[in-house]
């Protein structure tokens, strides 16, 4: 199963639970904001999306991932707007029978997300100026 959410405000992680009997692996990734972008100090990032297309692409990607790898669930939340240093911008939870496939699926999903989902970062500098982050990876 796939759940995809693009949200404003802090990310509440998907619940972890002991109720499954066929998932030997639960893998959770939190992508967090660091205090530097390309060597420059920042005080926050601001995430921008192509509204509509971002969620559609992310959903397609999540479904592609579940087809490509033998995993049972992929849950994903991406935060929009201003995200402070240390806070989570991307939260992904994958449930699978085996560890190996969960790890491979996580790696591929995030790699592809950074290639095809129309979401961008703006760096907020200590003086308050806001510029597009030119990071391409």
């Amino acid at each position: 199963m796939v759940i995809v959410e693009i949200i404003n405000g802090p990310i509440v992680p998907f619940p972890s639970n002991d109720d499954r009997n066929q998932d030997g692996a639960e893998l959770v990734f939190n992508g967090r904001v660091r205090d530097t972008e390309h060597g420059h100090k920042i005080i926050a990032l601001e995430y921008e999306q192509y509204e509509g297309m971002a969620e559609a692409e992310l959903t397609t990607l999540a479904e592609d991932t579940c087809k490509k790898f033998p995993i049972n669930d992929l849950f994903c939340k991406h935060r929009m707007g201003r995200v402070g240093i240390g806070e989570t911008s991307l939260h992904v939870s994958i449930w699978a029978k085996h560890r190996k496939q969960a790890i491979e699926a996580m790696d591929w999903f995030i790699f592809e997300l950074k290639k095809r989902v129309p979401i961008w970062k703006w760096a907020i500098h200590p003086d308050g100026t806001k510029v597009p982050s030119e990071c391409t990876h």
Binding site: Y50, M53, L113, K114, R116, V117, P118, E134
Partner: protein, 80 residues
């Protein structure tokens, strides 16, 4: 015909607009529109690779536009 251009990230920054409505001739294509956008940016998009989406779908080839289309020139994405 009327074409709506959505601007994000470096395109928004270069043009200072979230959205532009352009009047174009019938038969115009995404390539022609990209040229107009790059000219408007006055050099600020030089060296920036742009993919194109029409009505929120990536297009891998030059595409003929129709009245009311929503077009976005998509700079390298940065989610995560």
């Amino acid at each position: 015909m009327k074409i709506k251009v959505k601007c994000f990230s470096q395109v928004k920054y270069a043009l200072g607009e979230n959205e532009i409505i352009l009047e174009m001739e019938t038969g115009s294509t995404t390539l022609g529109l990209e040229k107009i956008i790059r000219e408007k940016a006055d050099g600020k998009l030089d060296g920036v690779s742009l993919r194109v989406a029409v009505n929120q779908q990536y297009q891998s080839e030059e595409t003929i536009l129709t009245d009311g289309d929503e077009v976005a020139f998509i700079p390298p994405v940065q989610g995560g």
